[in-house]
Amino acid sequence: MRETWVIGAATSRFGKLTETGREAASRVALQAVDSAGIDPKRIGYTFVSNCFGVAEHQAHLGPLVNTALGIPEVPSATIESACSSSSAGLHEAYLHVASGLDDAVLVVGAERLSHLDTLRATSYFAMGADYPFETRNGATFPGLYATLANAHQKRFGTRSEELGAVAVKNHANGARNPNAHFQKEISLSTYLASPVIASPLRLYDCCPFSDGASALVVAAREAFPRPPSEPLVVRASVRSGSIADLHDRPDMTGLPASRVAGEKAFRMAKLLPNDIDFAEVHDCFTIAEVMALEDLGFFPKGEAARAAVEGTTAIDGRFPVNPSGGLKAKGHPVSATGAAQVVEVFEQFNQRAGRRAVPRTRTALTHNVGATGGSCSVHIFSRRDD
């Protein structure tokens, strides 16, 4: 397998797009190509993610993006894996480049749902679940993660104040991110006063419905040895799956797909959790960050809830988590999220993260979950050795 890098990355501001998902996808794709310093014609394949394009009466986005970029002859495919769509696209891109099929591959994720009301958007988000066996029985997406939170609280005594500390931390980070949907700090009392959406989860436990787009250029070191920015060396690119329905899994206090993907990724990278300097993990709800840190082996099971309270996962803590603000504050434009996590790593590695810069940037991990963990991606990046 060839050494594979991320050499270009770009994102829109998350929140409310004033243009279509198609326009945003094309715009950030061109920005990512420009940041990689390559001619668009060097792209060999484009993987596009746009789960809810149908909400804009649009499918088959790949040829539209490629045509907008002036490369209509480049093949494309749409990659859908719910909230982990564009990290699944990144995995496909990695396989294309590492195997030698292509020298450079474009990964794009975009979503626009802000033109829908909350009820309709809630229904769209629930499409990642099992319609006849979860959604039709009343589950919303917050409801499914609330089920996990309820089970986690029962087994480990996880407190609302601990979940609140995750929200407070990620809002503080988002306040330092000019591309974040929410750039406003919140206090624990604000968190505790927010209304219950799906008990025990309150409004400030939940990520927002965001619009946004993010893009990456993945390339072979041997084909592009001198990119203009510090590249991310892809040390591991892993996808995993598990039983789709939460209730059919033996344990509801974590996501087995996260655990499996994490174990495989650390083996592939020949690294241990202690070797990772910072992480962007899938915090669609505060409990999701807690479970991710436990499932990935950064904390023993039942002990990650304390991390945000104790400052361990703050930007200046021992192990910064979600310096971008995470899905929680940066926002969660479903198909853009996985790529956006990598954009954050790219910015951090290139000292372009401003006030949210983490102290150490030798290695980083991104973790992106599809729905309640029926699918999952874990990527590990490091700086180049030379």
Partner: protein, 128 residues
Amino acid sequence: MGHSIREFEEGYEVGRRLLAFRSECGFVTATWGLVCPRCGVRDLAELPLSGEGRIAAFTVQTVPSEEFVNDAPYAYVTVDLPEGGRITGWMAGVRTEEELSIGDSVHFAPGYRRGVQFERGSGASRRD
């Protein structure tokens, strides 16, 4: 498992019964599938369910999806079945999380409107 998803839905909404299957390895599921996700066998035997169960986890949802817009708040419950495995459903009229606990007894209340609906059971709570 030769059944269709429609048979599950008609089971609880028309036939007033819950459908579940057990594979040779003992895995029980009330979710449609073709092969046991644990042991891989295709010979899944239909398992009669009593309709009783205990809450394994729950949430009280105040923001529903569109199909439940007139029912909120309500509880979405994950129920441990005495026959093995779990099933999900919803409970009308539950307004706060203090009204339920993990381990509470519930029973299937068929034919109301949609999905699998549960009501409070007569069995004692097991709040272990």
